[in-house]
């Protein structure tokens, strides 16, 4: 099967900023397609990196550097970090409005992403896409809830016809189960047995509407109605998540049957920028359950050191990006 989309920016060292500051060599190899072992420190470093990246964006937003809006994944960073090593280069990934963590974990390219969000030269989509519309290789994001689920079914059907053992994975939120497109897609995926994986990041809220006001029944029963395998992940421990999900994902590759994964997670920050209607006490309670507080096997000193290094890396990234010219839309025809 041919890939219609050429890679726009595989060069990790495109700029003035040294990606080794976050990743170390393991992660660079991982980006090149080598799914070697990631140490707990590698995982922790990447999760912290995503969090500090998002916080920097919120700061840049306050300072007026971001045009439009931005949805951070603060609290949910471990979801893409735990999943990405289970994915292969030939897999399709469809992301959504809350996609910075998905992109960073897939490509380790904070520079391309930050330039994109700030509209600077070096942007992965020339500043045209912005936070919610990113394409690179087989990674696509869009800002319309539920739109990418049937698209992922089509991509999965294409993969099936090509005989490749790849999958098409799409991230959606709990609120997106209100869209009819999700059910049309689940029906076709199950009917045709295509390798579709829906990862639902269930943070219990959609913009301002809590899940109990949005959803009757459950995600599990909806998957069951379509005869689709369902897995729920109720904790944030990366190694366990990987061992729980690697078998399920391998099952999709082997059988070509679809899969729904529900990740019980929490959105610690506002929906986009300062629009949080939840009780302060609820947020304090969530913060006490944050993965950052619960990481095992890394000493306090190491954590502090990693965080310090990451903050330093982010500072130099921001400085580098802000020094860039405004992007130009070269692809405009």
């Amino acid at each position: 099967m041919s890939i219609t989309n050429t890679d726009q920016s595989t060069d990790l060292t495109r700029g003035c900023w040294d990606p080794c500051l976050i990743s170390g060599c393991n992660l660079r190899a991982f980006d090149a397609g080598f799914l070697g072992d990631l140490s707990p420190e590698d995982d922790f470093r990447l999760m912290v990196f995503i969090r500090r990246f998002e916080e920097a964006l919120l700061r840049l937003f306050q300072e007026g550097h971001v045009n439009g809006t931005t949805h951070t994944c603060i609290g949910q960073e471990y979801v893409p970090v735990s999943l990405m090593p289970l994915l292969q280069t030939g897999d399709f990934i469809f992301s959504n409005h809350r996609g910075h963590g998905h992109y960073l974990a897939r490509f380790l390219d904070p520079e391309g992403l930050m330039c994109e969000i700030l509209g600077r030269e070096g942007a992965v989509c020339q500043g045209v896409g912005g936070s919610q519309h990113i394409r690179r290789d087989r990674y696509f994001s869009t800002g319309v809830q539920g739109e990418s689920v049937p698209v992922a079914v089509g991509a999965a059907l294409g993969l099936k016809r090509s005989g490749a053992k790849h999958i098409a994975l799409t991230f959606i939120g709990d609120g997106t189960w209100g869209e009819g497109s999700v059910y049309e897609a689940l029906n076709m995926a199950s009917l045709w047995s295509v390798p579709l994986v829906i990862v639902c990041e269930n943070n219990g809220i959609a913009q301002t509407t809590p899940i109990n006001v949005n959803m009757a029944g459950s995600i599990a029963s909806r998957a069951a109605a379509f005869d689709v395998t369902f897995v729920r992940v109720e904790h944030q421990r990366i190694t366990e998540i990987r061992s729980q999900l690697s078998e399920a994902l391998e099952g999709v590759r082997q059988t070509g049957r679809p899969l729904v994964i529900e990740m019980m997670t929490q959105r610690l920050a506002s929906h986009s920028k300062g629009d949080d209607t939840r009780d302060e006490s609820e947020i304090i309670r969530m913060k006490s359950r944050d993965w950052f507080e619960q990481i095992d096997g890394i000493t306090m000193e190491r954590r502090a050191k990693i965080d310090h290094d990451v903050l330093h890396a982010i500072d130099s990234l921001v400085e580098c990006v802000l020094a860039r010219e405004a992007s130009s839309w070269k692809g405009r025809s």
């Binding site: 726009q8 942007a123 896409g129 869009t142 991509a155 294409g158 070269k330 692809g331």
Partner: protein, 331 residues
């Protein structure tokens, strides 16, 4: 005599034969039924892997079509009635059309949405609309119309080659209509191309025209009839320009037509309000203002839903009578 539906069916067949990446997806398109209007008859037997029949999920099937495009395929998506494109609007406008440019670099997107449109079959309001006007002006979404004076087998590969998603509107009354293979259309009209690609066709009587009609494929039968009557009843010579592409309208190809005709009229089955014809007129005014002989006439159906009963349809849909009257009045 070949019918338009047969010509369209063999065009699809030859495209699928020539290119193993061509898919057809839609509802009820499998044999032996072969689609609500029989356009896909025989294709699922010939290409079982590439003809995908879906549940009644217009948005979903367009999504699947889009995903197939991302995986390297060229896709025809058939919607059973044009009115149902509204259920698939998100995938057509927000995903397919926007993907061409919203990611910075241009992305090729070989998708063709095909849908039957138009009245005169008595199907009533939800199955009879001429919907092109709702798609005009979407960036990277060119619009086309099936035509009995164009060869679909030549036209459709050109659309794929442009690399942008496209919609082809197919007026239902054409399916059973004769496909004009020879350049001699009948004893009065002959065909000539106005452009290199053969997309803009001129049907002419050979006389110096008193009026020129611009009409897409679905209006060709009514325009030919109106032209014949005007000639026989009033010795008014009418030429007919038939573009395959509705939008963007190929204004430049009309250069040779402009300036010679006293009356220029745009004819369409679409109802009043935000019409295709007003878009075409605006484009012609902008380019040919100095050469126009008079105000451009817009002939279209009335501002109404499409009723079911034959006599009620006749009252509001454009017909050869309307065209004859409008041209005679203008002269």
């Amino acid at each position: 005599m070949e019918r338009v539906v047969t010509a369209l069916n063999s065009a699809l067949r030859s495209l699928m034969e020539a290119d193993p990446s061509v898919y057809l997806i839609g509802e009820d398109i499998l044999d032996p039924y072969g689609g609500a209007f029989k356009v896909s008859r025989g294709l699922s037997t010939a290409f079982p892997e590439r003809v995908v029949s879906t549940p009644i999920s217009e948005g979903g099937l367009l999504g699947v079509a889009n995903g197939l495009v991302l995986s390297g395929q060229k896709v025809f998506a058939e919607l059973m009635f044009g009115d149902f494109t509204f259920l698939a609007m998100d995938q057509i406008v927000n995903f397919a059309a926007k993907s061409v440019s919203m990611y910075g670099d241009r992305m090729e997107f070989p998708l063709i949405v095909r849908c039957p449109v138009g009245g005169r079959r008595g199907y009533g309001a939800t199955h009879s609309q001429t919907i092109a006007k709702h798609f005009i002006g979407v960036p990277n979404l060119p619009l086309y119309e099936l035509s009995p004076v164009h060869d679909s087998a030549l036209m459709m590969p050109q659309i794929f080659q442009r690399g942008e998603p496209a919609v082809i509107f197919e007026n239902k009354i054409l399916y059973a209509h004769r496909q004009y293979e020879s350049d001699q259309i009948d004893d009065l009209y002959s065909r000539r191309c106005l452009d290199d690609l053969g997309e803009v066709v001129m049907l002419e009587t050979g006389e110096k025209p008193d009026a020129v009609l611009i009409a897409a494929g679905g209006m060709v039968p009514s325009c030919l009839e109106a032209g014949r009557r005007l000639m026989l009843e009033a010795e008014i010579a009418v030429d007919i320009v038939v573009p395959y592409q509705l939008y963007p309208f190929p204004v430049a190809s009309l250069a040779s037509v402009m300036g010679a005709e006293p009356i220029l009229a745009i004819v369409e089955e679409g109802t009043a309000g935000g019409t295709w014809g007003s878009e075409v007129a605006a484009a012609l005014y902008a380019k040919y203002w100095g050469q126009l002989q008079s105000r451009i006439l817009n002939i279209h159906s009335e501002d109404s839903i499409i009723p079911s009963a034959r006599h009620l349809e006749d009252q509001m849909l454009v017909s050869s009578d309307n065209i004859v009257r409008a041209i005679a009045d203008a002269l």
